[in-house]
């Protein structure tokens, strides 16, 4: 978003304020804005903004687990929950919207900073499903994270 003065008198000065919603960018970013005016040379002017946005809490390798296998086999997946802050994070709980298909186990890898979340298929029948595990934390800026679990379970 850009806010700017519309008219600048000869010898005068004005401002252009550029705002970026940090909820829409992750990692390193570069944004460009172009100022169009009635400058006598007819030239536009480019403005560049660079930076890095870190998540409060992240999943490693990502917020998705695929469970693929046959019914009755031990089909498991694992992610780590990484606290990107310097102050400890507490996982308050995990909500499972498909408890007849998956179960989970949480362990502290580095207390307050890294948690391991193991997810296992417990399906009693073959079929595909999508489950969601909602991790609740004590970080008021990131009280919830959602891990998506995609299951493809075949007959043995």
């Amino acid at each position: 978003m850009a806010r700017y003065v519309r008219v600048i008198p000869p010898g005068g000065r004005g401002e252009i304020t550029l705002t970026i919603d940090s909820n829409t960018v992750r990692g390193e970013f570069e944004k460009k804005a172009v100022v169009w005016s009635d400058d006598r040379s007819g030239m536009s002017v480019e403005l560049h903004l660079r930076g890095q946005v870190k998540p409060h809490v992240s999943f490693d390798p990502g917020g998705f687990i695929s469970l693929w296998g046959a019914k009755g086999e031990a089909v498991r997946g694992r992610v780590e929950i990484i606290n990107e802050h310097e102050t400890p994070l507490k996982v308050i709980g995990v909500d499972n919207d498909l408890p007849d298909r998956v179960t989970w186990r949480l362990e502290e890898v580095r207390p307050g900073f890294v948690y391991g979340l193991e997810v296992e298929d417990i399906s009693e029948k073959a079929g595909d499903y999508t489950a969601h595990l909602t991790i609740r934390t004590d970080n008021p800026k990131k009280p919830r994270l959602t891990l998506t679990v995609r299951g493809e379970i075949k007959e043995k």
């Binding site: 600048i8 000869p10 944004k31 172009v34 560049h48 660079r50 930076g51």
Partner: protein, 75 residues
């Protein structure tokens, strides 16, 4: 008589050069607005998601008429 001609010639040459200089400087002085932005790049410090990312650029009009900012596009 010869010295008189030299003086007249020098005067004409001087006048011609002055006139040439004036017309040249006049035509070089362009009219209209002229945008100038000293700093066109900015790097933010690393932040966490949800925190504000805003920066203000200062621009100047170094021309002879009002500068109108038509629009600012971004990508």
């Amino acid at each position: 008589m010869k010295r008189g001609n030299q003086i007249i010639s020098a005067t004409i040459t001087s006048f011609f050069l002055s006139f040439l200089s004036y017309t040249t400087s006049y035509s070089a002085r362009e009219e209209g607005p002229a945008i100038h932005i000293e700093q066109t790049e900015h790097t933010f410090p690393t932040i966490f998601e949800g925190e504000e990312l805003a920066h203000t650029f200062t621009l100047y009009n170094r021309g002879t008429a009002d500068l109108h900012i038509r629009r600012v596009t971004h990508s």
